[in-house]
Amino acid sequence: MNERSIKFIVLFLFFIIIILPILNLFTSIFSIQLFYDSSAINSLVNSISFFYDPRLITIFARTLVFAFGTAVLCLCMGVPIAFLFEKTNIPGKSFLRIISYLPLLIPPYISTIAWMEFLGTRGDLIHLSLPFSIYNLHTAIIIMSLSMFPIVTLLTSLAIRNLDSKLEESASLIASKKNILSKITLPLIKPQILIAGFFVFILTLSEYGVPSMLRIHTYSKEIFSQFSSFFNLESAVILSLPLVLTAILLITFYNFGLKDKSFVTISTNSNRKTNLLELSKLQKIAGLVFMISIIILAFFIPVTVLILESKLKLIEALILAQNQIFNSLWLALIGAGLMTISAFFIAYFSKNSKHADLFILLPIAIPSSILGISLIYFWNDPLSNLIYTTFIIIILGYLIQFLPFVIKTISPFLSQISLSMEESAKIARAGFLRRILKIELPLAKQGLIAGFVVGFVLCLRELGATLLIAPPGIQTLPCRIETLMHYGNAEMVSSLSIILILMILIPVVMLLLTKKELISKI
C-alpha cells in the first residue's frame, strides 16, 4: 500500500468515526426533517422557542460563568506555579513539579465526591459542618479549577522552557531579572498562557460530572436531562447549539488568531538554568506555602477523605465491582491502543496542514452527552447492530471524545523529528510503510507511549457519554460509581473511587519510572 492510499483510508475512517456522526446529528435535526416532515417544523419551532425561555438564558449564563471562572482561577494558580518552577530558585522543585500534576489524574467528579463527603451532605466519618452550603457555583468553580490547573502549569512551563534563551540573554545586559521576567518573558509566552486558559474554558463548558453532582443546573446537565429523562432528542441537540457555537468560535479563534502568534520555538539553547530569579527567604516560604496549599487542596485532601470514608473496604469493593473494573480496564486498553495508532497517522498526515486543527479539535467543542447522542443516532440501525449493541459503541465513544487529546500529545513528538530524517529514507528508496516502521515510529516512541497513557487515563475516567451509550450488560467503573452515588452508599463510592484513582495512577507512575526522560519533559 502506498502513502496516498493509507492517507485516504486514515482520513476516511476519521471522517466516518468522528466527523460524520456529529454532522449527521446536526444536519438531520435541521435540514432533512424540515424538508420531509412538516410536523418536525412545529417541533423545531417549539425547540427553538426554548431560547427565549429566561430559565435557559440563566442556565447558559451560569455555564459561561462556570467555564470563565474556572479558566481564570486555573490561570491564577497554574501560571505562578509554572513561573516558580521554571524561573526561580525555589527549593524542592523537581519533586513539587511531579506532585503538582497529580490532581490531573483524579477525575473532577471523584474530587467532587470527596469534597461532598468532607464538607457537604454525603459521608459520615469526617464530615465537617459548615454554616453555608457547598452546593453552589463557587464550589463548582473551585473544585473544577483544582482539577484543571495542572493543564495551565504544564503548558506554561513548556512555553517558558522552550523559549529561546537568547531572547532573555540579550535583555540581561541592560535590565534586571525582574524586569526581564515582566517585560520579556511574560509577554513572549502570553499566547501560550491564553491557549492554556482556552483549553480549560472549552473543557469546562461541556463538563457534566461536577455540576451534576453539586446539583447546579448547567447546560450540559440540561442537555443530558432532555435526552435521558424526556427522550427529547431535538431539544437536546438544539439546546447544545449555543455551547457548540461558543466552542467552535473559540477553536476558530485559536486556529487563526492564537496558534500562529507563538514566539516559543523548540530551541537547543535551553534556558532552564539561566536567568533564574533569586528569591529571598521570605519569598521562598510564601512561594512554597502557595504551591503546597494548592496541591494539598487539589490532591491530598480528596484522596485522604476518600481513604477515610472508604473505611478501607477495598477488597469488598473489588469483589462488588469486579466486572465493572475488568470492563473498564479492557475497554480502556483497546480504546487507548486504537487511539494511539490512529492519532499517530492523523498527526503524521496533518503535520503540514495549517487548518487541520479545525477538524481535529471539533469533538472538543461538543458536550460529551451530545457526542453520546450522536453515536446513538448514527449507529442505532439494524444494519449496524453489531456496533450499537456491543462494546464497539463504547470504544467509538472513547475515540470520538478523546482522539483530539491523543493527537495533540503525539504531534509535538512528530514535529520534532527533522524533516531530513524522513527525506533521507525517501531518497534511499524506502517505501512509505518502511519509513513509518523504521524511522518515524521508533523516533516518536516516547510520544506514542505518552499518547497511549493519556488515552488510557481518559478512557478509564470517562462518564458522560458511556452513561448514555453503554449497551446492556457492559457497565464501566465510573458508571457504577455514579449509580451507587444515588443510593447514598458513601463507603462503597469512596472505595471504588480509590480503586479508580489507583487504576489511573499505576500506569502513569510506571510510565514515569520506566521512561525517566519523560520526567524532564514535563
Binding site: 533521507s424 529514507a425 531518497i427 534511499a428 528508496r429 517505501g431 518502511r434
Partner: protein, 241 residues
C-alpha cells in the same frame, strides 16, 4: 539536445513569495558543479526540486536523458536514484552505523546478511568508518557524521550526489580534509556531484563548474577561473571577495 547528467529547463517555484525564476541550467556528468549564492537565493529549493522533494510550479528536469519532472510527469524521489546529503545530515539517531547502511541496502533489495555486511564494510572503508559499525550518530565527531552521511548515499549506488552545504558546520582544517576525500571519491567512483554553498572558498577549488544564484535568478555560470577573472557584475565581484 538532452545531455547525460542533469538538465533543468525553465524551473519556477513559489511558496509565500516567488523563490525561483525561470531557471535553466546543465549539470555535466562525472563533474562537480557548485551552486553558489547568498542566503535566500533559492539554492536549497533548487536542489530539492532536482531530487523530487519539492514539485516546481513550472519547468522540466531530465536526469541522464530521462524526464523526471514536467507538466505531465513527476517521478517520486525514491525512484530518481539520486543521493542527497542534507545540511543537517538527517542521520537517524536510533540506528548505529551498520543499521544506517543496512536500511539503505535493504531498500535496494539486498536482504542476505552476509552480503549486507560485505557491502557495508566495503562502503565504510571508502569513508574510513569501517571500525565503527556499532557506533551511534551521537557518539561520532562532526567529521565522522559527515562521512556517515556520505557513506549512506554511496550505499544507494547512486552516481549522482546532491550535497546541501554538507560541510557548513565544520572547522576549516576538517573541511579541507573532507573536501579532499570527496574529490578523491568523485574521481574513483565517477560521480556527478551538485554541491551548494554560500561560501565561495568552499567550492571554487574543487568545482568544474560554478553557477551563481541571487534572488532566485542565475547571475552567472562558468568555470571557476572564468568567473574569478570576469565577474559579470558588482554583486558577484563583492560576493567573491
Amino acid at each position: 539536445m538532452i545531455m547525460e547528467g542533469i538538465k533543468i529547463i525553465g524551473i519556477e517555484k513559489h511558496f509565500e513569495k516567488k523563490i525561483l525564476f525561470d531557471i535553466s541550467l546543465e549539470i555535466e556528468k562525472n563533474k562537480i558543479t557548485g551552486i553558489l549564492g547568498p542566503s535566500g537565493s533559492g539554492k536549497t529549493t533548487l536542489l530539492r526540486i532536482i531530487s523530487g522533494l519539492e514539485i516546481p510550479d513550472k519547468g522540466a528536469i531530465y536526469i541522464n536523458k530521462k524526464c523526471v519532472c514536467s507538466e505531465k510527469i513527476f517521478i517520486e524521489p525514491e525512484k530518481r536514484n539520486l543521493g542527497f546529503v542534507f545540511q543537517d545530515l538527517g542521520l537517524w539517531p536510533h540506528m548505529n552505523i551498520k543499521e544506517h547502511l543496512d536500511f539503505v541496502l535493504e531498500s535496494k533489495g539486498i536482504i542476505n546478511s552476509e552480503q549486507k555486511e560485505k557491502e557495508a564494510v566495503k562502503i565504510l572503508k571508502l569513508v574510513k568508518l569501517e571500525n565503527y559499525l556499532k557506533i551511534y550518530p551521537h557518539q561520532l565527531s562532526g567529521g565522522e557524521k559527515q562521512r556517515l552521511a556520505i557513506a549512506r548515499v554511496l550505499a544507494q549506488d547512486s552516481k549522482i550526489l546532491l550535497l546541501d552545504e554538507p560541510f557548513s558546520n565544520l572547522d576549516p582544517v576538517l573541511k579541507k580534509e573532507l573536501k579532499k576525500e570527496l574529490v578523491a571519491l568523485q574521481k574513483k567512483m565517477k560521480l556527478t556531484i551538485v554541491y551548494i554553498t554560500h561560501n565561495p572558498s568552499e567550492i571554487f577549488d574543487i568545482a568544474d563548474k560554478i553557477i551563481i544564484l541571487k534572488d532566485g535568478r542565475i547571475m552567472q555560470e562558468g568555470k571557476p577561473k572564468e568567473i574569478l577573472k570576469k565577474p559579470k557584475n558588482k554583486f558577484i565581484k563583492n560576493f567573491l571577495i
